[in-house]
């Protein structure tokens, strides 16, 4: 039951996140706090810039509640929105299972939500990330969501296991031998990714809540700093993977999240370098072009 709080806490939070959000954030922090003293310490973490999701330790993502832990990228509402939409677009079944590769998987939010929403035995997912913190968290999240974690990826398992499986893969998706990794069993029917896409120029201007807490490897679109970089490095790599013989299945789909203003560039990269003839752009709920879909 809500009770009136010391107005100082509310005022402190208001200054930091605005009055509209302060009321809500205070309610959520209060629900997480053990006692008034603890609440005060949670509020002070928040006002010093720590993201709410790290303080609370979880973030809802569709019907799932995922663990969030510094420095792994916090799942965003835009990603939740398009993943739910993708889940409606593709209809795998246990008779007709698909193989899914999620690049830069982070908390595992995209493949885990798809594994949760699609019927049991219909999807075998691999989630790759360069960060061991991310891979560790993705595995914990899979367990938390009741999704079977398998060390080796193989579509053959789909028929003999009752559930969907998630295979974590600690790897650099940009390295030349990534596609030959023994953990990958191509072809994939679906490749998803929310790769880092922020330009160095934008990164400098980000809120400290993002910059000081979340892994720059999950945010910076051009790992090697270039003054005029457009944050598109990973899209070139993803397009090259998709173009590899036998990597993306016939009629396979590639779905990637993009930053504001990048959709058309990524669309062109997909067409020119990814051998993806049919492409489409999806908008997020705020009307920003947010996702590029490519079909073989």
């Amino acid at each position: 039951m809500p009770r009136i709080l010391p107005t100082e806490l509310f005022a402190l939070l208001s200054k930091h996140v605005g009055q509209d959000s302060a009321g809500m954030e205070l309610r959520w922090l209060r629900a997480a706090a053990r006692d008034p003293h603890h609440l005060q310490s949670l509020v002070s973490r928040r006002t010093s810039g720590e993201p709410l999701q790290y303080i609370l330790g979880t973030q809802p993502f569709g019907p799932l509640e995922l663990l969030t832990r510094r420095p792994v990228l916090i799942p965003r509402p835009e990603t939740e929105h398009w993943t739910l939409r993708l889940a409606e677009l593709i209809h795998p079944s246990s008779q007709d299972p698909i193989s899914l590769l999620d690049l830069c998987t982070g908390s595992g939010c995209i493949p885990l939500l798809l594994c949760h929403l699609w019927p049991p035995g219909s999807v075998q997912a691999v989630g790759a990330d360069i960060s061991s913190d991310a891979i560790q968290l993705a595995v914990e999240n899979a367990h938390r969501c009741g999704i079977h974690v398998s060390t080796f990826h193989s579509l053959l398992r789909a028929t003999d296991s009752n559930g969907n499986t998630f295979t974590p893969l600690l790897a650099d998706i940009r390295s030349l031998d990534f596609a030959q990794s023994s953990a990958l069993r191509s072809p994939f029917h679906l490749i998803t990714s929310n790769p880092p896409y922020i330009t160095h120029e934008d990164y400098a201007k980000l809120s400290p809540s993002v910059k000081a807490y979340e892994d720059p490897r999950a945010l910076l679109g051009d790992p090697q700093p270039t003054p005029y970089g457009k944050g598109l490095t990973f899209y070139h790599d993803i397009a090259k993977l998709a173009a590899r013989e036998g990597f993306l299945a016939r009629n396979g789909v590639v779905a990637v999240e993009v930053g504001i203003g990048q959709a058309e560039d990524v669309q062109r990269i997909f067409q020119e370098e990814g051998r993806l003839r049919e492409t489409e752009i999806w908008r997020d709920p705020w009307e920003v072009q947010r996702v590029v879909i490519g079909r073989r």
């Binding site: 009136i4 709410l52 993002v210 947010r290």
Partner: protein, 355 residues
């Protein structure tokens, strides 16, 4: 009773089996009423006979008649006040299983109204506890300085909607605010709206009998700037607009859009069901030549006067001279019972006027 006679006269040897079944159904539906009606008539006859004996020259005879008269009279009034209303008030919209959302909105009176939202919310939470209903706060917008701009409770249990539905309307509070230095009494209001929760809530996010999904506009609130990886602030508020009616539902209390959307759809569904039930009452009232007063949502239904320690329900014309007892829930139960009876009585009145 006339309908029953009509039906009975229609049952003849050459009635088709289908018709017979239909007639029998009508008869069985009115069986209880028929029994009570016969009982009423024979009691009435007895009463008339007893009435004549009241003038009997023999004094012991007169005493007996008086006693008899009182008993019979009591029996008739019970029938009139309790038995007939139950039988005559149409049970067609069975709302007894429905749970409800209780929405509270601060009206006139500034921060006093916001504080009163808090007080009323606690009142309904305590009532729920003593009724063994399961009540949760689904949304509450706290304001700086205490109290709430608005709040929504979800109350689950049997008879919740039927018991609470007459709480809809304007609740007025008269008291001296803590901040008032000259000791003046302020008047503020809170608008309460009680909405039934449909039994098939699962269908809220798809087209259903109350609305088509294509008539619902879904919007996100507030700008997120670049959004995506650039921003990690929680931005989960959702607003639904039901285009044909203009009804809007905003929800921001959950931490994800998905959850807010789901809640908002459930509330939209409850709003539209409320609208439908209200319309049904109005239609029936119109059919009954305007005899039942409909609940006007902007009507002042109750006053909580702290200075006089008194709660007055304006529809019942009832004053409870113990404000704490109402706020703690116990005396509120009596008011709610009174309102249910009041409703039954007014429906009965119109049914009888029609007959």
């Amino acid at each position: 009773m006339q309908q029953r006679k009509d039906v009975e006269s229609q049952i003849t040897d050459d009635t088709t089996p289908d018709d017979r079944q239909r007639f029998m159904k009508t008869l069985s539906e009115t069986d209880a009423l028929f029994t009570e009606w016969q009982e009423w008539q024979s009691t009435k006859e007895l009463l008339d006979e007893t009435h004549a004996m009241l003038r009997d020259p023999d004094s012991s005879m007169r005493a007996m008649a008086e006693e008899e008269y009182t008993t019979l009279n009591d029996k008739l009034s019970t029938a009139l006040q309790t038995t007939f209303p139950k039988l005559l008030v149409p049970a067609s919209d069975d709302t007894s299983k429905l749970s409800a959302y209780v929405e509270l909105k601060a009206g006139v009176g500034g921060s006093e109204a916001s504080l009163f939202v808090d007080d009323l919310m606690r009142m309904y939470l305590r009532l729920s506890q003593s009724m063994q209903w399961d009540a949760t706060v689904v949304s509450a917008s706290e304001i700086d300085g205490g109290g709430f701009r608005d709040a929504m409770l979800e109350v689950r249990g049997t008879n919740v909607y039927d018991s609470l539905r007459w709480e809809t309307g304007v609740h007025r509070v008269q008291r001296v605010p803590a901040t008032e230095t000259k000791g003046r009494t302020h008047t503020s209001t809170v608008t309460v709206m009680v909405m039934p929760i449909p039994e098939d809530e699962a269908s809220a996010e798809s087209s259903n009998e109350l609305y088509s999904l294509s008539d619902v506009r879904i919007e996100v609130m507030r700008s997120r700037g670049a959004g995506g990886q650039h921003v990690n602030k929680t931005e989960s508020a959702v607003r639904l607009t039901h285009i044909p009616t203009g009804i809007t539902v905003s929800m921001q209390d959950e931490r994800s859009q998905h959850q807010n959307r789901r809640r908002a759809f459930r509330i939209l569904q409850a709003r539209l069901l409320d609208r439908k039930l209200t319309q049904d009452v109005i239609d029936r009232r119109d059919a009954r030549r305007d005899l039942v007063k409909s609940a006007d949502r902007s009507e002042k239904i109750r006053t909580y006067n702290y200075a006089q320690n008194r709660v007055t329900d304006h529809r019942l014309g009832l004053s409870v001279k113990n404000i704490t007892a109402v706020m703690e829930g116990e005396a509120l139960k009596d008011i709610l019972d009174g309102l249910v009876k009041h409703h039954e009585a007014s429906v009965l009145e119109s049914v009888l006027a029609e007959a």
